[in-house]
């Protein structure tokens, strides 16, 4: 049992650290949920891609470095340490790409992955519907078979990045006679297509970080179906697992924020908040070590299964607590907008997205602890 890096891993880390130190913008970019900020984040993705740092774990032919799992995590660690910009390409490179590698055709991989890696094409997820949130399997948007493809109809909502993104991915009901998890198909579609209406929705911070999508007889060719028709649920669940399971983000994802919190405390100590400061730090440290344990499991060919739900509840609640403590420490001036208040507002979405924490706790109780399922309610 050890946390030591090999000489090769240290060399990889040092190369990443040096490149990031030289290239990370000194001033933070504007919010990616504004037109200017979106363009600035896309430009940053291009800069990353030109040096082959945008998708280090992918094969070289798609713009990656064939990095091992541990190297990928080392890169993510350095990325957070360097305070580099958020990834506007995140939905594509972290959520969709693993599915394209596992379930996509060679043609789909060639058409979609290279422009995803450079940030030229930004992807938005289209999961939720007005009547299908936590109960995703109750979704109603339909796909109807036509010559050469399908026609999509219905409404998607809370579609992250869709206000400015180029393409979307999500599930549609392709067999009207099948229920719930059956008869669903995974589609990739053009957000600029005729008959797609995108209505941006301002989030808590006032910026349109997500959107509603209205699809009115939108034609999608067969070659843009991901996986087999009718197999969409199974295909999609590997995405959900990636999003919640950690998508293997940086072990240090919260350590940098916790260190900044300790700095804040040092500048203006408030003994009434010392308990919260210490707990934020040690919970971030627990997250770091837990993640290295997960990396070890996955690198050894193991599967984390429902433990992704344990992780999701932990980091999302930690993130809220950490930012709340920082705002408290700031006292009266904590009311003004600042990187801390931005981080706080963003943290508030954590317990909701990627499966609410209530759903995660059900999963933990039923799949890990083995408790009996709730009797099915009316209408299910």
């Amino acid at each position: 049992m050890n946390l030591d890096l090999s000489p090769e891993q240290i060399a990889f880390r040092d190369e990443a650290r040096a490149w990031l130190a030289a290239h990370v913008p000194t001033d933070p970019l504007p919010s990616m949920d504004t037109a200017d900020g979106f363009a600035a984040h896309q430009a940053w993705e291009r800069t990353l891609a030109e040096a082959r740092w945008s998708v280090v774990s992918w094969p070289a032919e798609f713009g990656g470095r064939d990095a091992s799992l541990i190297e990928w995590v080392i890169f993510e660690e350095e990325y957070y340490r360097a305070g580099a910009p958020g990834r506007v390409s995140q939905n594509g490179i972290f959520l969709l790409a693993p599915i394209v590698f596992d379930h996509g055709t060679t043609d789909q991989q060639r058409r979609w992955l290279p422009s995803m890696a450079t940030g030229e094409t930004i992807w938005a997820q289209a999961w939720s519907e007005p009547e299908a949130g936590s109960d995703l399997a109750s979704l109603r948007a339909t796909a109807t078979r036509v010559e050469g493809g399908w026609r999509l109809n219905g409404q998607k909502t809370w579609s992250s990045r869709a206000a400015f993104a180029h393409r979307g991915f999500g599930l549609f009901r392709s067999d009207p006679n099948a229920e719930r998890h059956h008869g669903l198909t995974y589609f990739c579609f053009d957000l600029a297509a005729e008959r797609v209406t995108v209505r941006p929705i301002p989030q808590l911070d006032g910026e349109p970080g997500f959107a509603e999508l209205f699809l009115d007889d939108v034609f999608v060719p067969d070659e843009d179906v991901l996986g087999a028709p009718g197999d969409g649920w199974r295909v999609a669940m590997s995405t959900a697992g990636n999003e919640r399971g950690l998508s293997l983000r940086s072990p240090g994802r919260f350590c940098a924020a916790a260190d900044r919190l300790v700095d804040l405390y040092r500048q203006a100590p408030d003994p009434a908040l010392s308990h919260d400061v210490v707990d934020a730090w040690l919970r971030a440290e627990a997250y770091r070590l837990y993640t290295w344990n997960t990396v070890t499991t996955l690198a050894g060919g193991g599967d984390v299964g429902a433990n992704g739900s344990v992780n999701k509840v932990w980091w999302s609640e930690l993130d809220v607590a950490l930012h709340e403590t920082a705002l408290e420490l700031l006292g009266p001036v904590g009311e003004s907008t600042s990187p801390w208040s931005d981080g706080y507002l963003f943290s508030l979405s954590g317990p909701i997205y990627a499966g609410t924490n209530e759903i995660q706790r059900n999963i933990i109780a039923e799949r890990i602890l083995g408790l009996p399922r709730e009797p099915k309610g009316a209408g299910r």
């Binding site: 049992m1 730090w281 627990a286 344990v310 109780a365 602890l369």
Partner: protein
């Protein structure tokens, strides 16, 4: 980078668990609390025979020469079974603090105890050797009067220092003991969670198992989460036993075990509140261990000092 227990370490935990389970440890715990120490001492001999006493002691002093990782593995198992006896005191603190023949006798399985972080020495009436820390110095001790613990299987005694004893770094010994206590809390928390899960699957009210209600599920899920994030801190502190890592481990293991105790008691209802039901042995042990080897608040205070002192 390989942050998980090795197959050998997991095997060690499994064989220790089997040996302790076979010896009916909760009965030994109850007898110990009544002053009948024979079953507990017989169990102690078995545990010593599996090498637990000497894990932290170098081979040239008669120990196993293992690492703190093996030590936390052992203490997690001891915690799971509420094993009676001064194990943290012997196999963690004194195994790190003592030198020469005194150290060898601990390696040989002789039970010793110490009053270091609290005024009292646990199980001083049955220990072969009793020590006390005063200031920065370790002394042999004379046993005084009994003090009752909230966990009656921890028999506390006042002590008075006799002669000074040469020792290794006592601060480090204190940290290793706090780490062992953290591991024991982790094991106790796991035990309470496992027992609570079994109970709520079987207990039926309003025509269905109470474990099918979300109000119960979510509380037990919170315990699972808290324990799952305490373990990497305990293991991380064992790999690199810095004061900062050890305080973080003791705080989170203490919080997680305390949550397990509260939730475990709540979902059991009144039966859990009885002395007769075995849950009580684990809940009271958790309460006591959250006072031993530094309270959570003492460790948080130290952590804050360490964090804010760093540049």
């Amino acid at each position: 980078m390989k942050f998980e227990l090795t197959a050998d370490q997991r095997d060690f935990m499994a064989s220790l668990d089997r040996a302790i389970t076979a010896a009916d440890p909760v009965a030994a715990n109850r007898a110990w609390a009544e002053g009948v120490t024979a079953p507990g001492l017989a169990l102690a001999e078995q545990i010593a025979a599996l090498g637990v006493s000497g894990l932290m002691i170098p081979e040239q002093s008669g120990g196993v020469g293992a690492t703190a990782v093996e030590m936390v593995c052992a203490f997690e198992v001891l915690g799971r079974h509420a094993v009676p006896g001064p194990w943290v005191e012997s196999a963690a603190f004194l195994a790190t603090a003592l030198t020469d023949e005194r150290l060898s006798s601990v390696a040989d399985g002789s039970l010793a105890t110490v009053a270091a972080s609290s005024p009292w020495a646990v199980d001083a009436d049955v220990a072969d050797a009793v020590y006390v820390v005063r200031g920065d110095t370790l002394h042999t001790a004379t046993v005084g009067s009994a003090v009752s613990s909230v966990d009656s299987s921890r028999r506390l005694f006042t002590v008075e220092p006799d002669t000074t004893v040469g020792s290794a770094d006592l601060n480090h010994a204190h940290d290793i003991a706090a780490l062992a206590a953290a591991a024991e809390l982790l094991g106790a928390g796991e035990r309470v969670l496992a027992d609570a899960v079994e109970y709520v699957k079987q207990r039926t009210q309003f025509g269905r198992p109470i474990g099918s209600y979300q109000a119960i599920k979510h509380q037990l899920a919170n315990v699972r989460i808290a324990l799952d994030f305490a373990r990497p801190l305990v293991h991380g502190a064992a790999v690199d036993p810095t004061p900062r890592a050890i305080s973080a481990a003791k705080v989170q293991a203490g919080d997680a075990a305390d949550l397990a105790a509260r939730v475990g008691l709540q979902v059991h209802g009144a039966i859990g509140y009885t002395a007769e039901y075995d849950l009580s042995r684990h809940i009271l042990r958790i309460r006591a261990l959250n006072h031993a080897w530094g309270t959570r608040s003492a460790h948080r205070a130290r952590l804050l000092d360490l964090l804010t002192a760093a540049s």
